[in-house]
């Protein structure tokens, strides 16, 4: 059954149809939230909120974009809102930015395990230090769930701008890694 058919059923109050949509897009929504929040537990909560919001707003979906893109837009904006709230809460009690959530050893992939742990730590720190306008597109693209066009819709920027930001983020990361003594450009 296609997304459109499931959406039509969910609109009529079919919870099972909506459940199927949740199951199909769970990973994409979670990864988008993870890209925005940088924390697995926060991303889980944000994903849940995003699905609930999508169910409530189902009547406003006009099929101008795919259901997945529409859903990811909701998830992204929910996650950004959560991020702003977390940052302001953090600033109220402490100074500076949010603490860096460390990527646990368990979640490291085989690919990640191949590179030097110290270098990985540096890369992660540098990614988090990037300005949000460069970091967000870079991480959303890294999630590998969407095309550039879909990500551009989610972020509300032209596709060309998205590509430039991703390339610029990579360029800055490499430049800083070279300064730290890792390889050469």
């Amino acid at each position: 059954m296609s997304d459109a058919e499931l959406v039509a059923r969910a609109r009529q109050g079919d919870h099972a149809a909506f459940g199927e949509l949740v199951e199909r897009h769970r990973a994409a929504v979670y990864r988008a939230a993870h890209a925005a929040l940088g924390s697995a537990s926060e991303a889980e909560d944000a994903a849940q909120e995003a699905f609930l919001a999508a169910y409530q707003k189902m009547g406003t979906y006009r099929a101008e974009a795919s259901f997945k893109t529409w859903l990811l837009s909701i998830a992204w904006h929910r996650a950004l809102s959560r991020r702003r709230s977390l940052v302001s809460r953090w600033r109220r009690f402490a100074s500076g930015e949010l603490p860096e959530p460390a990527v646990s050893r368990e979640t490291r992939t085989q690919e990640g395990a191949l590179i030097d742990a110290e270098m990985a730590h540096h890369v992660e720190r540098l990614v988090r230090a990037l300005p949000a306008r460069l970091r967000d597109p870079l991480l959303l693209c890294a999630a590998g769930e969407q095309t550039y066009g879909e990500i551009a819709v989610v972020l509300g920027i032209p596709e060309g701008t998205l590509k430039w930001r991703v390339a610029e983020a990579r360029r800055q990361l490499k430049q800083r890694l070279v300064r730290l003594g890792y390889g050469h450009e």
Partner: protein, 182 residues
């Protein structure tokens, strides 16, 4: 919509590979496996919007509408009456005393024992009071001492003329500079 897949450049350098690996780790995960169940539980908690649940809101809205309509009707009913009185009301100053500085004989008229005196300058009263309210009559047997107002002696302004004289331009004799001597 572009179908261009993603983020990976075609031939990654070692640095690119390292960046990709870390980025992948940073957004890895499938989300909680029981997300569907959690969402379903939350949806079950939230009742679906039904027209019956909107009754309190609708009732409140109807109440506000009724109050607003009655206010409008009351205002409309009262507005013409006000406009009629304002039309028949004499213009300010036409029936009341003239606003000239001439002394008014009111003091003399009211208290016969009191010699006529020029009326002191009075504070302006609202127009309605002038038109409708009669002046209070003095009580019998009460003598009211006249208020004396000494005339102000203001010296007339002198008519001194200012005479403007034309400027005189005096000639200046300028002598030529002496030749510089070596």
């Amino acid at each position: 919509m572009s179908e261009t897949r993603g983020p990976r450049p075609p031939a990654p350098s070692p640095l690119d590979a390292a960046i990709d690996a870390v980025l992948h780790d940073m957004v890895a995960g499938e989300g909680p496996a029981d997300l569907h169940r959690r969402v379903a539980a939350r949806l079950a908690e939230r009742p679906s919007p039904s027209p019956w649940r909107a009754w309190p809101v609708l009732a409140a809205a109807a109440g506000i509408a009724v109050v607003a309509a009655s206010l409008v009707l009351v205002r409309r009913a009262s507005t013409p009456a006000r406009s009629v009185t304002s039309v028949h009301e004499p213009p300010v100053g036409s029936v009341a005393e003239p606003r000239t500085a001439a002394p008014a004989p009111t003091v003399q008229a009211r208290a016969e024992s009191v010699p006529p005196v020029p009326a002191p300058p009075r504070a302006r009263r609202p127009a309605r009071m002038r038109a409708s309210e009669p002046a209070p009559e003095p009580a019998d047997g009460v003598e009211v001492a006249p208020i004396e107002v000494s005339p102000l002696d203001v010296a007339a302004m002198g008519d001194e003329r200012v005479v403007l004289r034309p400027l005189r331009i005096e000639r200046m004799d300028i002598e030529p500079l002496a030749e510089p001597q070596p």
